[in-house]
Symmetry: none
């Protein structure tokens, strides 16, 4: 894309959309979507307000696209861990990839945290799907881990779905908490803490 024979108005088309994505992420992650106006987003992206509506139709839709954009990237990264022959290594990879993703797209994580459990969120349906898919992936890998454990049913009453949710929540919060309150905390420390959850399974 961009600069086909470099005319004066370079990059045009799609360009605006990308700039708006970047600007929105930045601002919304910082203050929350309610506290950011379309005017601000447009200004930050260096386009006119009309362009936001030309490209997204509404603020709501812009945010919805922000979600799908982020989730696509996240899943791409999670894939890496899912197929690892060693499920423990796999989960470890998934967690560290997630933490790094959160560091790269901090506003995506923040948006997710803020909206996922807000029952009347505008994006509730889409978020529900996102949540389900991530937890499903974690659940799958937890099953493989617990199956590898030979004899004793390690933890008799341990519901894997609940555990998967705990891991999902801990990762999300840890990823965000690190950026906001503990910039010195390494991804490895966080991975260690999350993996502690699985100790009972091994």
């Amino acid at each position: 894309m961009s600069e086909t024979r470099a005319p004066r108005t370079r990059v045009r088309a799609t360009d605006s959309k990308h700039r708006l994505f970047t600007a929105s992420m930045e601002l919304i992650g910082l203050r929350g979507h309610h506290a950011v106006s379309v005017d601000e987003i447009a200004k930050a992206a260096g386009v006119s307000k009309g362009t936001v509506y030309y490209n997204f139709g509404s603020k709501s839709e812009l945010i919805a696209e922000l979600f799908s954009y982020g989730v696509a990237i996240l899943f791409e990264r999670l894939e890496k861990g899912v197929n690892d022959p060693d499920p423990v290594k796999g989960l470890e990879l998934m967690v560290s990839e997630s933490l790094e993703f959160i560091a790269e797209y901090p506003s995506f994580a923040q948006l997710w945290i803020s909206e996922q459990w807000q029952s009347q969120s505008e994006w509730a349906p889409a978020l529900k799907v996102m949540r389900h898919e991530v937890i499903f992936l974690v659940h799958q890998i937890l099953t493989r881990i617990s199956e590898n454990k030979s004899q004793a049913a390690a933890a008799p009453s341990l519901d894997l779905d609940t555990l998967a949710t705990a891991i999902f929540g801990a990762t999300l919060i840890l990823g965000r908490d690190r950026l906001v309150f503990h910039p010195e905390r390494s991804v490895q420390d966080c991975v260690g803490a999350v993996m502690a959850f699985t100790a009972a399974l091994r």
Copy 2:
């Protein structure tokens, strides 16, 4: 409540305040504070808009008081676990108390989740303190647990502060997730999943 022409004009004064607390919690937990207007809160509480300002001064202050109100109750409950001679039992109690607290004050939890990691939140300073105090409590008890563990440094590279944060996050998310997506999930299941985090320490 209500008691028009009731005996001894009991309660009064703080009556409006209480009604406003209840109404705010309800509405804000459902839709987020930005999506709830002072008008709505006043109407839901059955008082006039002016009364909100008379009692709280501003919407912001109302929410701030919502936070202190909730956190006071939460800490009261956490106390129970802190002093348990058996730190594992103590943590278990703290977690289950938290989960039950979240079930009773769902909107408090939601508000907390939404705002805690929003770097530019209006209540950031207060939230930072709340977060710190809870994590400190968890850290303390984790220390006692890991000290009880005799010989081998169970997990050499396991940072207790990070682990405490993970437990805090997992509990918060699990408590909320249960209400929104898994009403059938028991507190015990959730406690089990959170306690799994400590397996590595034992």
Copy 3:
């Protein structure tokens, strides 16, 4: 109403509503409701924009109330003619009252003309009722006129409902046309022209 013990801010309450009524009528009659903004109305009424919304809830509702306000006055005046023992005199009175009403509330008439036959008007339901009631009144009096006519069914194929509609339309248009294009034309001339419609019945 107004001035209870004449305080500094006199007239308060309801006053705003009246001022807004007057201002709206003026502006909307001149340029049409689409071409008049709420800002303009507020400014013309000497109140803030918020006051418009406090009192009416929406621009649409303001216009709806403009309609009911106008139609109430119109019907009050039409009553006079309805009960006249001589139906011809009665109709004549109704027409002249209508023409004078249009002269006093020109914007009401203009609004009516513009919206009544706009199939997708927001006020279509209310307008349909207004139209029906006026035409019904005219129909009634036409029936009395034609009954008075002794022998020969004056006009065999003359549908009274259609005739009533024609009289309604002619009066509305004549009333408005007079103000806009023929200020010199008297109410009597117009009444004469409208009454010509009934010649066939007599």
Copy 4:
């Protein structure tokens, strides 16, 4: 229509214009010109927005051309009646032609009704001319009718210009009212009602 790569590239050029005319008429008649956007018109016509501006220069000009287009057709039809040797038959023909024209171009009539007496309409000058010419035609034929009436000055104080206006208004309203509220009402019934206006002259 459409014919991509059709033979002899017929029509073209004015093709877009025609499609835009049709689409505008349809939409504007239904909802009023203010409530229809250029986007909608372009979409309905199956052309791009730019094409509207290429062909008409502005929305205002498009509507102006809509008026001249409609009025040309109307006058063509009115001619038929004007030259009838029997002025009564002639007027009857003019009225029925008008009613049929309104049925064929309902949005033209609606546009006319809405704008003609709106004093500050953008098209006021053009509309004034249209109105004048139609009323002039009616006046002429009324003169011929009243002259034919031999002896007694049928109606001493009947101003023919006012009567012509009444007939114009009644026809316009009746034509439109029939379409919107009385689809079962025949053109003949309406003609009958309008001609009742002339009874006094005969």
